[in-house]
Subunit: 369 residues, 2 copies
């Protein structure tokens, strides 16, 4: 309790907007609600609306609210509520002397939504020190260091906007931020910077904002009324998981296979046993046969496959851990790409999944990435 | 730069161990290396060993190191290196007046490994204020609020250990921490607390420490020489992804299907078209037929299935978003469970995947969860 209050005190002395996450749940280690109330000298009281909300959430899950969850309805009198439609912990917003404290739950999906729908607009409305504009360019097929080389001298760019380089296992986000007293000026700075970057690496940009690579692929496929099937070995379902995170993916993703054993590659994707015997299950030939088998057996326009050695064991001198093939089968042809990754098992899975989606995106847009 | 230095200054005035993450990469927004060196009055110089390490990592990926990545070999003279076998950014450890600063890269998998292998042992060795012991109990099939009700009065427990409640979408970790001047005393406190908890909810504990639920399932199956196949609809590959995150899962996971379309359920899992027409693809009957089809067609001992409405659309009054069935087919019987979740699409996928693995674990251990 003392640590939270002391941190609030330091934060209030330095910042105008303070975001606190976690500690709003029902268990005894959830102290943030009490700490915030105590720091601001507010009284906690049970709130009728909140109690109804908590009971309703338990009802939706087919349960009765246990008494221990009743404290989820306690709220500091005088604070504003930050709605949390999907969770029992309502957020707390307190304004004092032009400074704002936002207490949000720690559950990532709940926190993110409350951040986007309440905190960001509130900060936007309250911020009087000028205009801030941000824009995120999402790139595939290029790493940080090669991007820097292609952008060349950035001194003019850096004088107008701040650039954050945010790599995600083979994908790369560039977040541009412009500050100005004038909103049109801030918009112009961002537009200029985006133009500068697009001129040099435009074909690597698959989206702006929050749209994922799988979502962009889905939009292209839906527009063409085309369908996709996947056949995964080393990614073990991760590619399909990314695809099915996209709402409405059932309109373009038909089915997927996770063919971990050699038998399953043969039985479900018609990969010939002789092929596996001759070249191995981790090979260009196997990746090609898997993508083609997935396309044919699902009756889809596109087939996508992955095969590789995710480690930590299973590597050899010729095919060390991180050796991967991804393949795309389409109407006209089948394309195969060999990749070499290093890192832990989960990293290799992630990098392979991103590389496979990136490869499919390149085929769909005829881009050379 | 000023913000980082000012944060270091505040941290050094309050804490003995300071962990900084991020800002060690090759791009111009990576300022932590410079900031740390400046704060401690150290000079940055190119380090031969580090340069070799960076070049080797690029070579492993089949690339030549670009000049922009050369700064990854810069290191503050007099600081200790924290090895990062999987990434180009080596960590920095500086000790000053009994206070320790650890600068780690922000890439989660790299950071975690360096934390476990270097930072934690270093803090353990340097910490002279007493002994700290922690132990994590991982629970399934019970929520925070019901756990609290079952534990009853915790005042005696709380006087001996600190308990952190860490929920993960239907799974729950309890982290116990004991402080004492004497290490045997700290161990005894933890053992006592664990005994207290096991007595009340022992059958919900699937592991202690870092072992995941999928890993525990894998250990059971390997010991019995049994195999598993999955048939996923609403989880879209997430269950197989969790399974294949486990090293060596190819010794017990045979194959998986992601049957998003009705055709795929019929063609690959032999779910009768009439069954889907009569009960719907999201139904107890479909879940049962999917699990049995997966088990039969893969020729495995166990079949696991999921079907449900992950949202945001596709719900109806009778089957609202979050309606889910999971099923386990075994030699003796097939078990089906109906679940109701609320939340966003990704949350429903996660909760369903955890529920399915939890259900399989219950069948494998004959536990009633």
């Amino acid at each position: 309790m003392d640590a939270i209050i002391s941190a609030l005190d330091v934060a209030m002395s330095r910042a105008h907007f303070i975001i606190v996450t976690g500690g709003l749940g029902p268990t005894p280690d959830d102290l943030t609600r009490d700490a915030v109330a105590r720091y601001f000298g507010m009284t906690l009281a049970e709130d009728e609306t909140l109690l109804k909300h908590v009971k309703e959430l338990f009802r939706q899950r087919g349960m009765t609210m246990p008494e221990t969850s009743r404290n989820q309805a306690l709220f500091p009198i005088g604070a504003k509520k930050i709605p949390n439609p999907h969770g029992t912990a309502t957020g707390i917003h307190i304004e004092r002397d032009g400074r704002h404290v936002f207490a949000l739950p720690g559950v990532p999906v709940e926190m993110r939504q409350m951040m986007t729908e309440y905190v960001e607009p509130t900060i936007g409305a309250a911020y009087c020190g000028g205009q801030v504009r941000t824009r995120t360019l999402r790139l595939t097929g290029i790493g940080e260091s090669h991007l820097l080389a292609k952008l060349g001298d950035q001194s003019e760019l850096q004088s107008r906007v701040q650039i954050a380089y945010l790599p995600h296992h083979g994908l790369l986000d560039l977040r541009l931020t412009a500050h100005s007293q004038d909103e049109h000026e801030a918009d112009a700075q961002i537009a200029h910077a985006e133009g500068f970057i697009r001129e040099r690496v435009g074909h690597h940009i698959y989206s702006t904002g929050a749209t994922t690579l799988a979502e962009v692929i889905g939009n292209i496929l839906v527009n063409r009324s085309q369908w996709l099937a996947t056949a995964e070995s080393c990614t073990g379902g991760l590619i399909a998981d990314m695809i099915t995170d996209v709402p409405g993916s059932s309109q373009w993703f038909e089915r997927g296979w996770i063919t971990y054993s050699n038998d399953s590659k043969r039985e479900t994707l018609d990969v010939p046993a002789e092929l596996i015997e001759r070249y191995g299950a981790v090979s260009e030939e196997a990746a090609r046969a898997m993508a083609e088998g997935a396309r044919k057996n699902a009756g889809t326009d596109w087939g996508l496959s992955s095969t590789g050695i995710a480690g930590p064991s299973g590597g050899s001198e010729k095919k060390p851990v991180g050796t991967v093939w991804v393949a795309i089968a389409g109407e006209r042809d089948t394309w195969v790409r060999n990749l070499k990754f290093s890192g832990l098992r989960e990293t290799i899975k992630l990098r392979t999944a991103h590389a496979a989606l990136s490869f499919l995106y390149a085929q769909l847009t005829d881009a050379r990435l």
